[in-house]
């Protein structure tokens, strides 16, 4: 293949073009990769969180229709589940926010 003029011409052009190619910066792109991965995981967790909340709300509605007298006793567990699902299902969002806060605090000081 070394004597092939077509391959030689193409490879010569590729060599010349290599000088114009931008220098790779893996670290900068890696940050974008990590951010994109976090976003993707966050989307899945959000879906889980909202599914959990919707399930609890439907169950709450069912109880409210069948046994309205038990309703006041269920408000506290419902609020607790809503609050816990926020924390459990959005860890990345919270860690990102706290990281942003600490960054801002760092830059302010």
């Amino acid at each position: 293949m070394n004597d092939d003029p077509i391959a030689a011409a193409l490879r010569r052009d590729a060599e010349l073009l290599l000088d114009l190619a931008p220098a790779p910066d893996a670290a900068a792109l890696w940050h974008k990769v990590r951010r994109a991965r976090s976003k993707r995981i966050q989307r899945v967790m959000d879906i889980c969180g909202w599914s959990l909340r919707a399930t609890v709300a439907i169950a709450f509605g069912g109880v409210a229709l069948s046994a309205p007298e038990a309703l006041p006793a269920l408000i506290v567990p419902l609020a607790l589940v809503g609050w816990l699902s926020t924390g459990i299902c959005t860890p990345l969002l919270h860690s990102e926010r706290s990281a942003n806060v600490s960054l801002r605090a760092g830059s302010a000081s």
């Binding site: 077509i6 190619a21 890696w30």
Partner: protein, 166 residues
């Protein structure tokens, strides 16, 4: 950073980023666009299952992503993504010393021909890999590649004859 995932990414990126950039430039992207699309291709590659594949297979997949991103970009620009049309490269990517640009040999080829020649002779992909990157059958790759080769040989020969006459 000694994270193994980062090391794998960094090695793969430094090995193939300029190869992908050159390929995108030679099939129709200008330099800045090729850089942007190249980064996006690596981003998508790292989020896909291909990030855990062996190097050769992963490289073919990366070039497939790059090709599709460029096709999408053309569509977004409301350009018809016509692989069969001849393509005049942007002046910034022409190299005067290159044998491909002495007599417009490269510009006389269709984008599909350019793509096949580059993938086969510069990147040295197999016919099966080229077929998956270009989205054509393996039998078509063989036929199109031999046609592209014959055309480029003709243009380069014409160029050599003209140079000899001068």
């Amino acid at each position: 950073m000694s994270d193994p995932a980062f090391l794998r990414f960094a090695n793969f990126y430094s090995d193939h980023s300029s190869g992908l950039w050159r390929y995108l430039v030679r099939i129709g992207a200008d330099r800045t666009l090729a850089e942007d699309l190249g980064q996006e291709a690596f981003l998508r590659w790292s989020l896909s299952q291909a990030a855990s594949w062996e190097d050769e297979k992963a490289r073919a997949y990366l070039f497939t992503i790059g090709t599709r991103l460029l096709t999408d970009w053309w569509r977004h620009q409301r350009c018809h993504a016509d692989w069969e049309a001849t393509y005049e490269p942007p002046p910034a990517t022409e190299i005067a010393d290159s044998p491909l640009f002495r007599s417009q040999a490269w510009a006389n080829l269709t984008r599909r021909h350019q793509q096949l020649l580059w993938l086969a002779y510069v990147e040295e992909f197999s016919h099966a890999e080229i077929a998956s990157i270009c989205g054509v059958s393996m039998a078509s790759v063989r036929v199109l590649l031999s046609r592209a080769r014959a055309l480029l040989a003709k243009y380069l020969k014409t160029d050599n004859e003209e140079t000899a006459h001068e």
